[in-house]
């Protein structure tokens, strides 16, 4: 009896520590429940989902063009790579090919994104292990890259720069020059980081033989990217399934042997140098040419060609030709200003006082009954009827502008229709393999958009990496798998 009491009092239990979701070293809102015996980890249970925004569900209600900014918000550290992954997948779904120059530009910015991601990874990994100066040195260079991103697309983090069928705009000359200067200086900057940590005995003690995972196990667990290559598996999608311009550049893939934290760290450091090399090769080879695929079905039509109608100095008015109008009521429904009136099966009429000149009637009419009157704004209906000509007899530039305007409205309101089928396309983002699985039912929106996020898988590997080590090694393990919770939770 007494013995039992005593056993109850002196019973050994593990200490249960809740690490996160608010914790300086969990890289976001990852929550780990640690069962620790003294300082030794007995059990780790990761909880994710605090940043779940339902991107997969959102994707089902957005057109292929619209869903692009969602991918920025997954891995916000390397948004450019995510964008590229998305557009590569959608291009394959549509069966189109981006122009050569666009591919080169995309590869350049993708590698820039890899460098900036690895810099942030190194910064936070080193900070977690206590080397706080590396953090700021890395940010110094990352800032340079982010400024370059701003130069080409006006945003530093959530770039939304690549487009289905190319890139948003061409890169300016200063961009190439600044980037070339960066690639010149960057290797010496890498040496700076390495001076601080690479051979440092404390760094070595903290990383060597921590979180060891064998090649077979790593691939069985679904690890990808540098996390997998640290274990010695030569799996790099840039080589295995080359996309964009990766088949035209010459680079090596760093492979570790032991699969510990130090090997993964070295892999990423060597990848920084390789990426730097890739960028240099691509800048040298960058071909001239268009940056968008010339097919208004998939891309927005050129804006300057629409000017004859859309420019404000043209003072245009829309007019419905009574003879051509079948009275179907389509334009009436489309008119956002409720300016069109008329009975069914009788010619409709635009109330010029209410009309906002938005061109919705022009693009909806199937019977070519809506026409454009240049300089007709403010004129009476009779005068307009005098001036109006059938759409076929309009001047050539206005006719072209009208066609493009129709394309523009169709593209935005409905979106390009994808062929029916399902498709899985993977790209190598800095964190690993980013896969997009699309199921298309032939409409303008994906029936199912599945994102295979590397951080999600890697977060699942945490228990395997941590158990048996000490509390401080959990931090090193979180750092070494390089997760971003925005991508993990989607």
């Amino acid at each position: 009896m007494i013995q039992k009491e005593a056993e109850k009092i002196f019973e050994t239990r593990e200490l249960n520590v809740n690490m996160g979701p608010q914790h300086p070293a969990t890289h976001g809102v990852l929550r780990l429940v640690l069962d620790i015996d003294g300082e030794t980890i007995v059990k780790v249970t990761p909880y994710v989902g605090y940043l779940h925004r339902g991107i997969e569900k959102l994707g089902e209600s957005l057109s292929y063009f619209q869903a692009l900014p969602l991918t920025d918000r997954m891995d916000y550290v390397s948004a450019m790579s995510n964008n590229i992954g998305y557009v590569v997948a959608v291009e394959k779904l549509f069966g189109i090919e981006a122009p050569e120059r666009a591919k080169f530009i995309r590869t350049i910015v993708g590698e820039m994104s890899r460098i900036s991601n690895h810099l942030l990874w190194l910064a936070t990994h080193a900070l977690d292990i206590g080397a706080m100066t590396v953090f700021l040195y890395c940010f110094r260079e990352r800032e340079w890259l982010l400024d370059l991103f701003e130069m080409i697309c006006g945003a530093r983090l959530t770039v939304t720069y690549p487009r289905v069928g190319g890139v948003r705009n061409d890169v300016p000359q200063e961009f190439l020059e600044s980037l070339w200067k960066f690639t010149d200086e960057f290797p010496s900057r890498i040496l700076e980081y390495e001076t601080l940590i690479d051979q440092n005995r404390i760094w070595l003690q903290r990383t060597v033989d921590i979180g060891v995972i064998s090649a077979e196990e790593a691939i069985n667990m679904g690890m990808t990217g540098p996390t997998l290559r640290g274990s010695g598996v030569p799996y790099d999608i840039r080589k295995h399934m080359p996309y964009d311009a990766y088949d035209k550049v010459d680079f090596d893939v760093p492979i570790g042997t032991k699969g510990d934290t130090y090997d993964r760290y070295r892999c990423r450091m060597l990848e920084l140098r390789q990426s730097n090399n890739i960028i240099r090769q691509l800048i040298e080879k960058l071909p001239p040419g268009p940056v968008m695929v010339d097919d208004p079905k998939f891309t927005l039509p050129p804006k300057d060609k629409m000017m004859p109608i859309t420019h404000p100095t043209k003072e245009i008015a829309y007019f419905i030709l009574e003879k051509a109008c079948k009275g179907c009521g389509m334009c009436m429904r489309a008119c956002p200003a409720k300016a069109i009136t008329g009975e069914k099966k009788a010619a409709h009429k635009i109330n010029q006082a209410l009309c906002v000149n938005c061109a919705n009637c022009l693009v909806t009419c199937k019977f070519k009954s809506v026409t454009v009157v240049s300089g007709g704004k403010g004129l009476s209906d009779e005068k307009l009827a005098e001036l109006a000509v059938a759409p076929d007899q309009l001047p050539e530039d206005i006719k072209q502008a009208q066609q493009l305007l129709v394309k523009q409205f169709e593209f935005i309101k409905k979106g390009p229709k994808a062929p029916e089928g399902d498709l899985y396309v993977a790209t190598e983002v800095p964190k690993g393999e980013l896969g997009f699985y699309f199921v298309s039912d032939g409409s303008g929106k994906p029936f199912r958009m599945r994102l295979r996020a590397p951080s999600f898988i890697h977060a699942g590997c945490l228990p395997r990496l941590c158990v048996g080590h000490l509390v401080a090694d959990v931090i090193a393990a979180i750092g070494t798998i390089d997760i971003v919770l925005g991508e993990c939770d989607r």
Binding site: V48, G49, H52, G54, E56, K57, S61, K92, L93, G95, E216, E217, I219, N220, M221, G222, M223, G230, V233, P234, Y235, D236, K239, H240, P242, D247, D252, V253, P254, I255, G256, T257, K258, Y262, D263, R266, C267, L270, P419, G421, D422, L423, Y424, A426, E433, G435, Y437, V439, D441, F447, R448, R450, R452, F456, I457, A459, G460, C461, D489, R490
Partner: protein, 193 residues
């Protein structure tokens, strides 16, 4: 030090996916329902009963050697197909560099399928997510809990019949009512004064 830079060729050495589909057909003739092809990618649609056996064969066969489970997910074909759910496995062989997609059909009235965790331990979280989002139960999974949604969540969000604008205001989901209450309290606070 221990890390070396290796040159990897960009040329694939793997089998044609159609041949792989034929192989599966030969091995499990009564399991394969259909083979679909789209943009050079081949999907093998199978029955769910022997799904794990098929996967195990693909993983263990020395010629196929699908060691990498790229992705595991489900698709809800409500209103499109007779059998509502499909669990999709995207497989890749890092050694031979070939890819195949297995789609196992799961009916609506009995959303159960065997777990692939014994074959690939990486399937663990994928299956939990499928359970969370589609309500597909993976028999034999070591720890089948919700993963992304809160533990007390009702319904399966990625199903097609899940309401897009939920009746959240009528229902007392504590996480939401608390936020509403708190926002009302905060509104009364005069930040500028």
């Amino acid at each position: 030090m221990a890390v070396t830079e290796v040159r990897i060729s960009i040329h694939t050495t793997g089998l044609n996916p159609k041949d792989i589909a034929e192989k599966i057909k030969g091995q499990f003739p009564d399991q394969v329902i259909d083979v679909a092809e789209f943009r050079d990618q081949v999907s093998v649609i199978i029955k769910r009963d022997q799904a794990v056996a098929v996967l195990k064969y693909l993983h263990d066969d020395p010629v196929l050697s699908f060691d990498h489970l790229q992705d595991l997910t489900a698709v809800d074909y409500k209103g499109k197909k007779d059998i509502r759910f499909e669990v999709v496995y995207n497989l890749y062989s890092t050694r031979y560099r070939h890819h195949i997609r297995i789609r196992a059909q799961v009916p609506e009235n009995d959303t159960k399928i065997n777990s692939a965790v014994p074959v690939w331990s990486g399937a663990d979280w994928h299956e939990r997510e499928c359970f969370d989002m589609f309500g597909i139960e993976f028999t034999g999974h070591p720890d089948l809990r919700r993963i992304l949604m809160p533990e007390d969540w009702e319904g399966y969000p990625l199903r097609k019949d899940y309401p897009l604008k939920g009746p959240e205001l009528d229902k007392d989901w504590p996480g939401f009512t608390d936020v509403l209450k708190r926002s009302k309290e905060l509104r009364e606070f005069d930040w500028e004064g």
